[in-house]
């Protein structure tokens, strides 16, 4: 989860999120170069006397055509690489359905028999000591670590959005439509997210918690939940 006043990304917990963070660093470095150039040009123009002795602008026009094209290529290539990486077909080990309701999520593990549950936010009054306010839920989404997981997201009533920042996942939940996303959790842990599409009075109070565990633990959990 994010700390108080945290401005940057949370630590990456999936390979896609690691790639997204690397691209973000690359984009910021490009932005720094552009801002430095613009600041310098601004300063130079403000300190120069006005004159009208320019008759041939061929060179400058060449520069301000090629330079932006180079910048666009520098940004587009890694961006498209990640875009296609996110859409790779990777034969998921587990398929999970996340359905948004007002104002809770329900999950269905259709690979198993009778494994479905609702996930409500734990009210602040019932929160155990040390747990996170407005982020904890009564039933977490448990997934095996280092295994590709496919999530099919939809909604029952209004628009919602299933988002877990540290996994690099954000998918809109639209009534009547099935949206698909996938992720692989690199390490065991608990990852928090919140509904990311305004959906009514309790939009801020329907969090998502993904718990990644070793496969043996996941098997125990699924047996327990199915029974």
């Amino acid at each position: 989860m994010a700390n108080h006043m945290q401005f940057g990304f949370q630590d990456a917990s999936s390979p896609i999120m690691e790639e997204l963070m690397k691209f973000h660093d690359h984009a910021l470095m490009t932005a720094l170069a552009i801002c430095s150039l613009v600041l310098y040009l601004l300063t130079a123009m403000l300190t120069e006397k006005l004159s009208s002795n320019t008759v041939n602008a061929q060179e400058i026009e060449l520069v301000w055509t090629i330079l932006p094209a180079a910048v666009l290529i520098m940004l587009a290539l890694p961006s498209l690489q990640i875009l296609y990486m996110m859409d790779e077909i990777n034969e998921p080990d587990l398929t999970l359905k996340a359905i948004g309701h007002q104002w809770y999520w329900s999950y269905e593990y259709t690979d198993f028999k009778d494994l479905l549950f609702d996930s409500y936010m734990t009210p602040t009054a019932d929160l155990p000591l040390g747990h996170f306010r407005l982020l904890e839920v009564d039933h977490r989404v448990v997934v095996p670590m280092e295994s590709p997981v496919r999530v099919i997201v939809t909604a029952d009533d209004v628009l919602h959005s299933w988002a877990v920042p540290s996994l690099g996942v954000k998918t809109d939940a639209i009534p009547g439509r099935l949206n698909q996303t996938s992720f692989t959790v690199s390490r065991p842990g608990v990852f928090y997210g919140q509904c990311s599409e305004i959906c009514g009075a309790n939009h801020s109070f329907m969090p998502i918690v993904v718990e990644s565990v070793p496969l043996a633990n996941f098997e125990s959990w699924s047996s327990l939940m199915s029974s």
């Binding site: 989860m1 994010a2 700390n3 006043m5 945290q6 401005f7 940057g8 949370q10 630590d11 690397k22 660093d25 690359h26 910021l28 470095m29 490009t30 932005a31 720094l32 170069a33 801002c35 430095s36 150039l37 310098y40 130079a44 540290s166």
Partner: protein
């Protein structure tokens, strides 16, 4: 918990308000080498031509080119290092998992070990 480094006071230095050179790998070195390159090229041009404005232009151009040049070089090396780390981690995990079994990559295949039916 994510973002633990943010809680340490005085540990983030954001250039132009957005690029945190302390946290982004290769950024600090890129900016420092860029500054050095800018100084060398600008000063060199001025010493050669005695033209102030053009030397400033060369200095800024040198800063951008050196900074971006080192950035690409450093990030490429970092990516290669991460791939090697991942391969090493995978290799160590497989070594532990398969040690002593027939899948052990360190196991020598000799003729006596093959079963004759």
């Amino acid at each position: 918990m994510a973002g633990e480094g943010d809680s340490e006071p005085g540990k983030s230095f954001k250039l132009l308000g957005f690029l945190d050179v302390q946290k982004v790998p290769c950024s600090r070195e890129s900016v420092l080498y860029g500054s050095l390159g800018s100084l060398v090229m600008g000063l060199g041009h001025f010493l050669a031509t005695s033209r102030v404005r053009r030397s400033c232009d060369v200095a800024v151009g040198g800063f951008i080119c050196t900074m971006l040049g080192y950035w690409f070089y450093c990030r490429y090396n970092l990516a290669q290092q991460r791939i090697r780390q991942r391969m090493l981690k995978e290799g160590m995990k497989n070594r532990v998992l398969f040690e002593g079994s027939y899948l052990d990559p360190g196991r020598e295949q000799t003729g006596s070990e093959r079963s004759d039916s």
